[in-house]
């Protein structure tokens, strides 16, 4: 019994969210079609999971939740912009976008790493402000310089005046490529449930790679630094370099994840898409039971599932329970902030006590 209680206490966040999701579904059962909900959830899982997974490495390295992931997301968008500008299309174009994003992710990830190494102990807030700052630079580049300074010429992605990228870009060449590749359906309660198998294989490869990496020497160093920076330093690990490595991996994965995310949606809000990524991916990871200091692949999977189920269900539940769909939207936003805020607070409280 004591063991069960301990287990429940340790997993209080995922349990709470499971209860929320299930009661939301029950409350809204009249207005929810389960097969449609299932399709939505599968789509959202394939769309978001890669991004959520990209947050794990910095947590292991003791750098907390990587709010700077937005920098990676921007690099992913750079890849998409370049490829769409060329007018390329097909699966090749999709992977080309990934290829283009990687060098950018490495450069900007390196700069992020330099900054975060100067801000030990306050990596999260620095990463967050960095994301806002980078957003300014991104806008300056793609709103003011795209066209005259940066050789983007495809009128389809530019604003009418020829300066600045369009506010939304249809990803004609890269959209949906990976998802379409292999998307069988299985019957589920009378309706077909589509499963983007190729995307899930891609995500599974990342999971395997992450597990493998954490077992290598480099991965072990990461853990050591995450547990105690000073002990790691004394035992001969180059702490700054290890932390840099964590940020580089996370930024590159964040870029790839953003490409998967946007390709699935099919349109890019050029100046907004990246902003939404950080908070929601982080909240999803935390909902799965991860903390600032501990995150696993299972946390990411469970969290993404729960968070996005809640995302789907809460407006409908809000409509039925309180007569307002708007409240559901504010509620899920509140949940996203609250879950991050409470986790941060709990972590700080625990570290202080120990």
């Amino acid at each position: 019994m004591g063991k069960l209680r301990q287990l429940a206490l340790q997993n209080v966040v995922p349990i709470l969210f499971t209860v929320l999701c299930v009661s939301g579904i029950i409350a809204a059962r009249a207005d929810i079609s389960l097969p449609i909900l299932a399709n939505d959830i599968v789509t959202r899982l394939s769309r978001n999971l890669f991004l959520v997974l990209s947050l794990i490495i910095p947590v292991v390295a003791g750098m907390g939740l990587n709010f700077g992931i937005i920098v990676g997301a921007m690099c992913g968008q750079i890849g998409l912009i370049v490829v769409e500008n060329q007018g390329a299309s097909g699966l090749g174009a999709f992977f080309a976008a990934m290829g283009v994003s990687i060098p950018f992710s490495l450069i900007f990830g390196w700069l992020t790493g330099l900054l975060l190494n100067r801000a030990k102990g306050r990596e999260m807030i620095t990463g967050m402000i960095l994301a806002f700052f980078a957003n300014g630079i991104y806008q300056a580049v793609f709103l003011l310089m795209a066209g005259p300074v940066i050789p983007l010429h495809n009128q389809r992605i530019l604003l009418d005046g020829g300066i600045g990228l369009a506010i939304t870009i249809d990803l004609i060449g890269t959209g949906g490529q990976l998802d379409r590749l292999l998307r069988p359906s299985i019957p589920f309660m009378g309706l077909p449930l589509f499963i983007p198998v190729a995307t899930f294989i891609f995500i599974a490869l990342l999971c395997v790679a992450l597990r493998g990496y954490l077992r290598t020497k480099s991965g072990q160093e990461l853990r050591a630094v995450g547990q105690d920076m000073h002990v790691a330093e004394i035992s001969g690990i180059n702490v700054d370099r290890t932390r840099m490595r964590a940020i580089l991996i996370s930024t590159v994965l964040g870029g790839l994840g953003q490409i998967i995310w946007l390709s699935n949606i099919g349109t890019m809000n050029t100046f907004q898409s990246h902003e939404q990524v950080g908070p929601y991916a982080i909240a999803a990871l935390l909902v799965g039971g991860a903390t600032v200091a501990h995150a696993t692949i299972w946390h990411a999977i469970l969290g993404t599932l729960l968070f996005h189920t809640l995302f789907q269900v809460s407006p409908i539940a809000g409509q039925i329970l309180l007569g307002s769909a708007q409240i559901g939207e504010y509620f899920r936003e509140f949940v996203a902030y609250a879950v991050i805020g409470v986790t941060l607070a709990l972590h700080a409280w625990r570290t202080r006590r120990s």
Binding site: L115, R118, A119, K120, G121, R122, M124, I125, T126, M128, I129, L130, F132, F133, N135, G136, I137, Q139, A140, L143, L144, L159, D160, G161, G162, I163, G164, S324, Q326, I327, Y330, F331, E333, F334, Y337, A338, I340, G341, L344, A345, H347, A348, W349, T351, R352
Partner: protein
């Protein structure tokens, strides 16, 4: 004092921003037809409008909890007070000062709770503060949807849900402070004496507060907690006091902001307001650990003037040019880069580590 020493005392950020502002003004005067008097009047209004919010950060920094990114908590309290007074149809000075008083009281209460939370998360105050700010704005959004009001001017005319996004202060207390004792400068330009006096008066009060026994104890608790503890100061309650004053002043700040702006912005409007506010304080020369009233005055004026000047300036310069519409985004982009750049600089400075 030789000029080099003087520059050193001014500091890097202040020098750059002051030089930038000067350039903007010179360009405005030389290259455009902008009405400089009006521009200057706008700068003063915007300074007074934002000044109290910036001032509100000082007690928290002094108390040792760093930059108070949770200031939207205070703002939400101020907005709530304004909505309540508007609902009772309180107009003019009564509405304004009633909102200020009630807002400050609510802010003090919320600040007390917030201070208890921050006490539990020592070391991560700023990060937790950001989420307290976000959470309170999102939570208040739900409140606005359900808030029981009877005044038809506050709800959507055709039976939409909850309070309007923006409440119009015309006829309530729009620019009540701005126009008090205002010195007209011709046209629509004026010096908002009442607004500036109210802000500078509060600045003076805060300055005097830090000269009192309690104020000094508060500063000591923030600067060196162990030493303060040893000399018999209750560090925890002093720190809490800093947070409470800060949150209460945040409430006052948003009421004054709204009256000057002429609108009460609800829902998501205050979500990101902490960042430019913090940036203004830092531009004035403050850091994560040090903040003075002079930093508030200099920083608010410099930052707000740069923002106020750059928008019409860019519009006047770019204005008619073919296909250059995108360039009108320049001021907003500059604001993002300047305000977050300065916060990054403060967070990564060696002094603060």
């Amino acid at each position: 004092m030789n000029p080099l020493d003087w520059l050193k005392r001014l500091g890097v950020t202040r020098t750059i921003l002051a030089a930038f502002l000067l350039v903007l003004w010179i360009v405005s005067a030389v290259a455009t037809e902008l009405d400089l008097v009006l521009l200057f009047s706008d700068c003063l209004v915007r300074t007074g409008m934002n000044g109290i919010l910036v001032l509100a950060l000082v007690p928290a920094v002094r108390g040792g909890v760093g930059l108070n990114f949770g200031i939207p908590l205070g703002m939400v309290c101020g907005l709530l007070a304004t909505v309540i007074f508007m609902n009772f149809d309180a107009r003019g000075g009564l509405g304004l000062f009633g909102s200020i008083a009630l807002g400050a009281a609510l802010g003090a209460g919320a600040g007390w709770l917030y201070a208890r939370l921050l006490e539990a998360v020592r070391g991560q105050e700023m990060m937790v503060g950001i989420y307290v700010g976000f959470g309170s704005v999102a939570g208040a959004s739900i409140l606005w949807l359900f808030f029981p009001v009877s005044n038809p001017e506050l709800i959507w005319p055709l039976g939409g849900e909850g309070l309007r996004n923006t409440l119009v202060l015309d006829g309530y207390f729009k620019q009540w402070l701005d126009l008090k004792l205002a010195i007209p400068l011709g046209g629509t330009a004026f010096v908002p004496v009442g607004l500036l006096a109210f802000w500078l008066g509060l600045c003076g009060l805060v300055y005097l507060f830090f000269r009192t026994r309690v104020g000094m104890a508060l500063s000591a608790a923030g600067a060196n907690p162990r030493f303060a503890e040893a000399s018999g100061i209750d560090v925890r309650s002093m720190r809490s006091l800093g947070v409470i004053i800060s949150t209460a002043m945040g409430a006052v700040g948003i009421v004054v902001f709204s009256q000057s702006y002429g609108f009460v912005q609800l829902y998501k409007a205050p979500l990101l307001m902490a960042f430019p506010t913090v940036a203004a304080l830092l531009i004035g020369g403050a850091s994560v650990r040090v903040a003075k009233v002079s930093h508030v005055i200099i920083g608010t004026f410099l930052f707000q003037s740069v923002l106020t000047t750059s928008l019409p300036l860019v519009n006047a310069l770019v204005g008619q040019a073919e296909g250059a519409q995108a360039l009108t985004n320049l001021p907003e982009i500059a604001r993002l880069i300047i305000s977050n750049g300065i916060i990054l600089y403060a967070l990564t400075r060696k002094e603060s580590a």
